[in-house]
Symmetry: C2
Subunit: 157 residues, 2 copies
DNA sequence: TCATTTGTGCAACATTGTAGCATTTGCGTG
DNA sequence: CACGCAAATGCTACAATGTTGCACAAATGA
């Protein structure tokens, strides 16, 4: 069961995960400043980030990257199956690393605090609920509502 | 069980449904050309439509409406609970009439044929799959994959 | 080192939606 | 029916989020 949103999505950088360089060269891509930087940001992100947030992270790290180049790097990562797009409530895509192929997880968007959390338990239930003949393919799936933190009554002051 | 997408979403205009005028005046809104026209389009639409599609329908019917006015009419409908927003694969919202309050349904977006279908059976399963403390609120929920038509092998020629 | 091909960076454009504001219109009242 | 006023409309601008085209730079293999 998932109660605390901050631990609900404990993805940040498994120690044995392949390096950015490895991820890139494995698909025959060139190892460029932007791709490495974006990968590093995504790898240490606790939840899906949109283009703006990624750019902000990069700037915080003292890196300057062109807006278009960022879009293209992200597009490439998605195309290569390294990252996925997640639809948010606004019309901006969020991006997230694909952790292990074969396991898809859904996202929950809290309409109170705006956070996007990852839910590992939902997909099996969904697969059973879909009509026969339908196939659930994409991890891009977002539920909306209120998360545990926001439904909980405030602590007595 | 839902097998045929064309019947899966059999919403078009129940004969006893309230008229556009009734729907509008019931919330204290003014009955204007645009609201009535938009409601009529949504009422006869077999699936959620985005702003562009609605405008196209109106033009096909010989009606000319301002882009902004359309947005505002749609916003008002959503605000009044008459319509809901559905997120699509592009960043444009789709709109759909709320049929009966109290019953929320999810949407399935087929990535082959691009159709958005409505699934009545999914929500109960979802509610059980969410972690404790989480509340599923919004009907705006889209699953992605392939629908029955598109997963089925082509008929032997 | 050199050539080739892949990415980058810039500027311009496209789509989707919002904001401000003057004008028109629906509709209750006299 | 005429009036008056709030509610909607219809501009025009503007904002956010991507995309496209093209010249230039840089990664990689020979």
């Amino acid at each position: 069961m998932i109660a605390n949103p901050d631990t609900a999505h404990s993805h940040p950088a498994a120690p044995d995960a392949p390096s950015a360089r490895e991820l890139i060269t494995a698909r025959g891509g060139r190892v460029t400043r932007t791709r490495v930087a974006v990968l590093d940001v995504l790898r240490s992100a606790p939840r899906p980030l949109n283009h703006d947030q990624i750019a902000a992270e990069l700037e915080a790290a003292g890196e300057q990257h062109d807006r278009v180049t960022l879009y293209r790097a992200l597009d490439w990562l998605v195309e290569q199956g390294i990252a996925t797009r997640v639809a948010g409530s606004d019309r901006a895509w969020k991006f997230e690393l694909v952790r292990d192929t074969g396991h898809r997880h859904a996202h929950f968007h809290c309409q109170r605090c705006g956070r996007v959390l990852c839910l590992d338990e939902v997909e099996p239930a969904l697969a059973g609920a879909l009509p026969a003949g339908f196939r659930l393919e994409q991890a891009e799936l977002v539920l909306h509502g209120a998360c545990a933190d926001c439904t909980a009554p405030p602590p007595t002051p």
